[in-house]
Amino acid sequence: MDRHAGTSFYLSELFVAGKALSNEGGSAILYQHLFWFLGHPEVYIIILPAMGMVSEVLAVSSRKPIFGYLAMVGSLFAIAILAFLVWAHHMFVTGLNPFLGAFFVLLTLLIAVPSAIKVFNWLTTIWKGNIRFTPASLFAIGFVSTFISGGLTGIWLGNSSIDIHLHDTYFVIAHFHIVMGVSAFFGMFAGIYHWFPKLYSRYMNSTLGFIHFWITLVGAYCIFWPMHYEGMAGMPRRYFDYSNWESFKQFVELNKFISIVVLIVFATQLLFVFNFFYSIFKGRKLTTTNPWDATTLEWTTPIHPGHGNWPGEIPEVHRWAYDYSKDGKDFIPQTVPVSPDESKH
């Protein structure tokens, strides 16, 4: 409405090129509050499904139940609630009352608790597991790695005093891209490699998948790790050209290095896209309904499930989804009734 109906929600008394605008009373900061009240939960909308898929893939590929299932669910909901209470940590330098900022620092740092619980549980899920290394499981492990390294810098940025220096620098870019860009993509790749057989009744090529994983993992760290140092030196984001500043001359070669790695990583993603589309039509055909020996219901559908998923009755569920390596059996599907002499999970 500000653009076209002459209102003034987000525009205050402004002078543009020496000419006063007719707007009065609005606030650009109001937009920032509204945007981040949307925007911060938005990043959790992205990362939570990725976390879910990673947990699933890690349990299946380490042949173990998810460690601390209840804690996982609890921390998930804790994150979902806290997501709504931290938005102003994007706005520490807008002139926000520092007293109010202290609350947002506290609530922001609180997110570290459920996040740490999750990381601990992922690591203990694969701990001493009989890990099957597939592209999906590697990407799931890669997710945990990048989530740790990206999450730790969040603790720095969440402090309003440190944020005054780091705000709008490449440090923020590095943090955001490792935790949202790389982590979320790794979760998505894990999901694609894992459920591709369910989607297209064929396998993706795992050799290409391994190449894709290793170049992407090493490349992503090569791209985003150095950006932390640029940010600590105060290099601001969203500048077209840094060559006029004496203080950023030290990063000329580093920027070249980053961009060359970007080209390599981009080419590797094209390899993934090729693998994806090639496998839809020419991939190795699925010969079993349950290629990863998983317990969950999606693997009880036929190889080519029609609309409605199950040709007969809907399967009945008798147990939780994580009966792996139990009572001497590698896995027990959810559809198998619990026998009386079975041990508790």
Binding site: M1, H4, I45, V73, L199, L297, E298, H304, G312, W320
Partner: protein, 280 residues
């Protein structure tokens, strides 16, 4: 539930029996009643909708990543000319160097595309649709029609966003967060002109898409327990992934409704078509 009932009876006509593990021909039984359009285009099968979200997401990911390659070239080699850029981008890269305006547009679109179109729609749209019914043991989403609409609103949003790349003044260029005044003042930069209008229109369509999808996802955590019989504690038996969905469903349903508020300008200017073009 009526939908589930129809599917159910239909399935009984097709084949009887318990869960078939080797019934390879089963998928073909249904083909004759689905035309190409209803099977691949306006599909109401959650699995096909998941594929549509995934493939659209992958196309967006390539575009968004390619943009980052272009602006990284500028950052690494600010004084070098890349004639291919002029071939690709025309006057946005005169002499093989992208202009500052093009740089900001590329950065803005890179963020918008990857955060919203790839990681929100491409990730959640794909796997929520694929896995919720399959893992709770349902035949489809609660409302397959709404699910289909969700994809097609996303498709429309994509079209509008793509179109904004080709207008004369270029796409939005005030950052993916679209802070005012750059986003609110049409004269603030060339990216604040029609490109910004298209950005807002596209995001409004995107919000509708996510809302329709989110309403479908939220139905299942409530009803998932139906399929889970003989359980002392159903909570314990749900797949963890489904809890993740529940968590993230609460988020879009609230957040997504806020988005039109944040983008107030976009929603209203469509109601005022006579002023939509240029009233400043």
């Amino acid at each position: 539930m009526s939908n589930e009932a129809t599917l159910h009876s239909h399935q009984h006509e097709v084949t009887h029996g318990t869960v078939a593990h080797d019934d390879h021909g089963n998928g073909h039984h249904e083909h004759h009643e689905d035309s190409f359009i209803s099977k691949y285009v306006f599909s109401m099968d959650h699995k096909m909708i998941a594929k549509q979200f995934l493939i659209t997401g992958i196309i967006w990911a390539i575009i968004g990543a390619a943009f980052s390659v272009i602006f990284r070239l500028q950052l690494a080699f600010p004084d070098t000319s890349f004639p291919i850029l002029e071939t690709l981008l025309g006057h946005w890269a005169k002499g093989g160097r992208i202009t500052p305006e093009a740089y900001y547009a590329l950065v803005t679109m890179h963020g918008t595309i990857l955060v919203f179109f790839v990681l929100t729609a491409g990730l959640s749209g794909t796997f929520s649709n694929l896995l919720i019914p399959l893992q709770v043991g349902a035949r489809d989403m609660a409302s397959p029609f709404m699910n289909m609409l969700s994809y097609w609103f996303f498709f429309l949003a994509s079209l509008v966003m793509i179109a904004s790349l080709f207008v004369q003044t270029g796409p939005a260029s005030g950052g993916w967060t679209s802070y005012p005044p750059l986003s609110a003042l049409g004269d603030a930069s060339i990216g604040s002109k029609i490109g910004m209008d298209l950005w807002l229109t596209s995001m409004a369509l995107f919000v509708v898409s996510q809302l329709l999808g989110g309403l479908n996802y939220i139905y299942y955590p409530e009803h998932a327990y139906q399929g889970y019989e003989h359980d002392q504690d159903t909570f314990d038996h749900l797949v963890f992934l489904l809890h993740c969905r529940t968590g993230c469903i609460i988020l879009p349903c609230t957040a997504v409704r806020l988005h039109p508020a944040a983008d107030g300008p976009s929603c209203r200017h469509q109601l005022l078509p006579e002023r939509a073009v240029r009233s400043r």
